[in-house]
């Protein structure tokens, strides 16, 4: 049982022969409070300053890519939930769009807009947790509880739409599981009305406070060209001043119809990341408002899935009544539908950056290979370079502002 597990994790140390004795190693993680998820940073410290960092990850490696090879397409949705669990629906939708691209399903406009509403909510939820955790790590716990109340509200909206709070399994290939209820719409509208004030309050609490600014400005800053070389995407890249946003560059899901701007930072430090996320939340709210306006203008209030009988489950009443529908239902659930062979790469602008799905299908009931481009995994490797020469406290804030989600990191 326990004996089969390797047990030398705490004995790891820097292998440095000529190291002066003044340095000592500090083991930050795997259960350090600041490493939120689970990763280990062995830091070589010169007093309070960091000389070198060695990262160990994989403490919650769950073999997503392997599982995905053994599961029919629709069963991969719950897996994507657990990639970046702070913004599960975003991952769901990204996955569904990838499959739709492979299968050639055209989604109706209403589905697109509904998806945008949900995806932007997920983005808000994710940024909200990241920013409030920056507050917690810098010692101001109170802002966290204020923002988390809003997150609870987003949970309520999710719950009203799909029945779950965090790992939503929201949406299906081709659309949604069920239509949004009236109650869900009420909650969404209420949220849109109340959230800006709460966000502003949170910002008042921290953003212009000198203690916070001193803690964050020029902490963990990263030049744009290094960031690109390290494969940064999302808010972290934008904080460095590069306006790369998948929603603008390669609009998916009708994002080209929406008007918003890309918030940028100056030199990619923690304060920039904080402010970029703050502004992105506002932009997301703005996008949701536009989407709701578009939805309101539509006459169609019922469509919530693409009508493609080959891949989308037939409506339940038909299954109960109609033999042909029942057979299709069986075929789809058993995963016996004819999936075209081929390979496809699709990416969405997830909360942490470009979340890509590289899907290879050989025509079987399961993908023959599915690779996730997890933004965290790629940009977290720049962490040692970012914190080199800074202090321990800076390293902790840098880590939380990078928003490394362990589920996404280790997959």
């Amino acid at each position: 049982m326990a004996n089969e597990l390797h047990t030398d994790y705490w004995e790891r140390d820097f292998v440095r022969t000529e190291e002066p004795k003044e340095y000592n190693t500090l083991n930050v993680g795997p259960t350090h409070p600041a490493t939120h998820g689970v990763f280990q940073n062995i830091m070589l410290m010169d007093g309070e300053f960091i000389v070198e960092t060695e990262q160990t990850i994989g403490y919650i490696h769950r073999a997503f890519e392997k599982i995905a090879e053994r599961r029919p397409f629709y069963q991969i949705t719950p897996l994507t939930d657990r990639l970046n669990y702070c913004s599960a629906p975003l991952n769901n939708m990204g996955w569904h769009m990838t499959v739709e691209k492979l299968l050639g399903i055209e989604t109706p406009k209403r589905v697109d807009y509904l998806r945008i509403v949900i995806m932007e909510f997920a983005r808000i939820a994710d940024h909200l947790i990241c920013n409030s955790v920056i507050g917690v790590d810098s010692g101001a716990l109170t802002g966290f509880t204020y923002l988390f109340q809003s997150r609870e509200f987003i949970y309520e909206i999710y719950e009203e739409i799909c029945g779950s709070r965090l790992t939503t399994n929201m949406g299906r290939i081709g659309g949604f599981e069920r239509n949004f209820s009236a109650k869900a719409w009420d909650k969404i509208r209420y949220f849109l009305k109340t959230y800006p004030a709460k966000l502003a309050e949170f910002e008042n609490l921290l953003a212009r406070n000198r203690i916070f600014m001193d803690r964050t400005i020029n902490v963990g800053s990263f030049a744009a060209d290094r960031a690109l070389a390290y494969g940064f995407t999302g808010p972290n890249l934008r904080a460095c001043g590069v306006d790369y946003d998948v929603r603008v560059m390669n609009p998916y899901c009708s994002y080209d119809e929406f008007d918003f701007f890309i918030p940028l930072g100056q030199n990619g430090d923690t304060y920039d990341r904080f402010m970029v996320r703050q502004e992105e939340m506002r932009q997301s709210l703005y996008i949701i408002e536009q989407a709701i306006a578009k939805l309101d203008k539509m006459d169609d209030k019922q469509t919530y899935y693409a009508s493609d009988p080959r891949f989308v489950l037939p409506p339940k009443e038909k299954v109960y009544n109609n033999m042909e529908a029942l057979i299709w239902h069986f075929k789809i659930v058993m995963g016996e539908t004819d999936i075209p062979a081929g390979e496809v790469y699709h990416c969405v602008e997830a909360a942490n950056g470009e979340l890509g799905f590289y899907l290879v299908s050989d025509g079987g009931r399961t993908p023959s290979r599915l690779h996730f481009r997890r933004p965290c995994f790629i940009y977290y490797q720049a962490y040692p370079e970012m914190v080199k020469g800074t202090m321990l406290s800076d390293a902790i804030l840098t880590m939380s502002s990078m928003n490394v989600i362990a589920g996404e990191l280790d997959a």
Partner: protein, 191 residues
């Protein structure tokens, strides 16, 4: 790096004014915010006594439905087990014997139907996969236990009680069309 799009704007302002430099105004501002919350009505739900309203379509503990006559709907087709990403459902099918027509709706039924509630991820795929209106998730939450074994819920816990008053109403989870369909006696379920 040149701009890739023309839709960007720099949002962070790192210049501190004099008032910000002397700490106090921002500190006092922050303190007033917290003080305002001090006197505000508390959002806490006193959980065990007071319960938060769940969404009607919340995905909680499963129920195996009976039909109007009290017969078990499940026909042990196994779709739910196949659809389950966590492989938490186990069932053993059995043939209905003569004289059991008032117990089971179809000729085949699940003699054993177990869900490992500890494995289950409450994703709702079984509910979606069921072609017989037999399994539904409900807004009840599964209680915690001291041991692992009791989490394997058998039929005695899953099948809803016979007593019509204690039946579990899941109609809100179904679409309007399905509800219309059920009201309309013209249609019947597949045999």
């Amino acid at each position: 790096m040149e701009k890739l799009t023309n839709r960007s704007r720099v949002v962070s302002d790192k210049k501190m004014t004099f008032l910000e430099k002397i700490y106090l105004p921002a500190i006092i501002k922050g303190m007033f915010i917290t003080l305002k919350h001090f006197f505000r009505k508390k959002t806490t739900i006193n959980y065990p006594e007071q319960k938060r309203e769940f969404s009607q379509i919340y995905r909680g503990q499963h129920v195996l439905k009976r039909d109007d006559l009290g017969r078990e709907r499940c026909t042990a087709c196994g779709l739910c087990a196949v659809a389950c990403p966590a492989e938490a459902i186990t069932m053993v099918a059995a043939e209905r014997k003569p004289g059991e027509e008032n117990l089971y709706r179809e000729e085949k039924y699940a003699a054993v139907y177990e869900i490992n509630m500890l494995r289950c991820i409450y994703c709702g795929d079984c509910e979606e996969a069921c072609p017989k209106e037999a399994i539904f998730l409900t807004d009840r939450i599964v209680a915690s236990q001291y041991q692992r074994l009791p989490f394997v819920y058998g039929k005695e816990l899953l099948v809803e009680p016979l007593d019509p008053d204690k039946r579990i109403d899941v109609s809100v989870r179904q679409t309007d069309e399905v509800r219309d369909f059920k009201l309309n006696k013209r249609f019947a379920h597949n045999k």
